[in-house]
Amino acid sequence: MAPAIELRNVTKRFLTPKGGVYTAIRDLSLSVAPGEFCALVGPTGSGKSTTLALISGLEPPSEGEVEVFGKPVEGVGRNIGYVFQADAVFPWKSVLDNVAAGPRYRGASAREARERAHDWIARVGLAGFEDRYPHQLSGGMRKRVALAQTLINSPEILLMDEPFSALDVQTRTLMENELLELWAASSASVVFVTHDLEEAIALADRVFVLTAGPATVKGDYKVDLPRPRDVAEIRFQPRFDAIYQEIWRDLRDEVLVSYERQKRIGAA
């Protein structure tokens, strides 16, 4: 069976405004099985978000191949869901219209889209808030809207770019548990980008450690913790600690490299 996502020797370069070339990813290869929950961890600026942009089809690779379910990615695929790091819900649409946007863009009638949106709003616990605008909601509620907006399209590939990094710790734990529940009810393959190793281990089946940019895969770890998991409690299991220490040894060196680089830029 073809992997859900496959990147083979992918390199991505960007032109900087000054005319230089910036290499975000160099010779990166990874593959994700159908239904697998993967986490990408790495120091800041290590090309994690760029990796997601390549899988989603928002950006083409400079070199190498990106395949989703065995087919090369050309443009934005219909089976992709993407939860962004920053708020990306539409501020001029109500909660209902925000969630209904996906089905409407994909050709559903306005009535059908609204019915499905009502259902998803209830599933993420926002029933009663349909008519609110995003600025009237808290950060956690806006993230729920973003989740409903993405999951309503039943994506087979779910890409998440540090989705909970702006939330307070309690809300974050809640949202992580809800995400695991919603994911368990679907068959989606998830690529979850984070710089928080604890979050990565608590959520994922597999953790990829990326090097300080340009990114390539440094380590690939299986997380053999039982499911269903409670994110708040799983951190106290001895096995969690063992996995954490194993991955951290790898990650620490990269974080140090990235930190030294930033210091140098700051000093220059």
Partner: protein, 292 residues
């Protein structure tokens, strides 16, 4: 409660008498409002009073500078007996018609071209030097050209007003499109929006707050365009009324015309604010969201 004990136990004080504290605050806010309004009135009285006084005793020549009582008298004559050009309301209506039409034509064209160029990089790069050049010339003088080519009636004034409006709205719409949050565009594309949907549901709503801000300035400019158009040659309108007064060395008439334009502009401004609030009702309202 004395001030001293209030300072010593601020939390207890607030917990015991929250009602009293808030009512005292409401009272203070009310007093401030009254003070502001009283001072405003004072400024008006001092300004008009000194004007009236200095012209009356002859320090300032009322032939050149008019006097408030004369201006009021002139306005009253216009209202009660009509102007040299016909009834007053007709002059105001003519100018309003020119202004509103010029405003509509200019802003619709400005939005269309602004969004089109904002969405099309090549078109923007090709046309940008011409647009910059056109923007740098003082466009009011085109009013003279329009008076020749389009005649002395409505068309030349609408053209003058709309060309003034066009550039302001155009630049704002263009900038608004360019400043659209890239995350929102990426999100819409992932959710399945095609190019048309992207323009109508993401780009234009997002640019609307820029465009709406420009409408305030541009309505004022539409009024300038209409009045300047009338000065270049017309048979009716407030601008023509001012021109007529000027030819008769009637300073009071010029000021009276100005006062009329000010009233028209203020009414229009409030209408545009109402329109703006309707168009972007999703935006947090800075007035009602502030806690007292």
């Amino acid at each position: 409660m004395s001030v001293r004990s209030g300072l010593a136990l601020p939390e207890a004080g607030a917990a015991v008498a929250p009602e009293r504290v808030s009512s005292r605050r409401v009272e203070a806010a009310r007093r401030r409002r009254l003070t502001v309004q009283g001072l405003r009135l004072l400024v008006l009285v001092v300004w008009l009073g000194s004007w009236e006084l200095t012209t009356r005793i002859g320090i300032v020549d009322k032939f050149f500078f008019g006097m408030p009582s004369g201006i009021v008298q002139r306005l009253w004559t216009w209202i009660s007996e009509g102007t040299a050009l016909g009834p007053l309301w007709e002059q105001v209506a003519v100018t309003m018609e020119e202004t509103v039409l010029g405003f509509l034509v200019g802003s619709v064209l400005g939005i269309i071209f602004g969004v089109a160029l904002g969405r099309n990089r090549l078109l923007a790069d090709v046309l940008s030097p011409y647009i910059k050049a056109a923007n740098s010339i003082p466009r009011v003088v085109l009013g003279a050209l329009f008076a020749i080519s389009l005649g002395l009636d409505l068309k030349s004034k609408v053209a003058t007003a709309s060309i003034l409006v066009f550039f302001v709205v155009f630049f704002n719409a263009f900038q608004g499109v360019r400043e659209v949050d890239r995350n929102l565009v990426a999100n819409a594309r992932i959710l399945g929006a095609d190019n048309r949907r992207l323009t109508t549901e993401i780009i234009i709503p997002s640019a609307l707050s820029w465009i709406a801000a420009s409408l305030h300035i541009s309505f004022g400019l539409a009024l300038v365009g209409a009045v300047v158009g009338e000065l270049f040659g017309a048979t009716q309108g407030v601008g023509e009324l001012i021109y007529y007064a000027k030819n008769n060395f009637d300073a009071n008439g010029v000021f009276a015309g100005m006062a009329l334009l000010a009233v028209v502009a203020l009414v229009a401004e409030s209408l545009i604010t109402a329109l703006e609030n309707r168009l972007i009702k999703w935006r947090p309202n800075p007035v009602t969201d502030v806690a007292i």
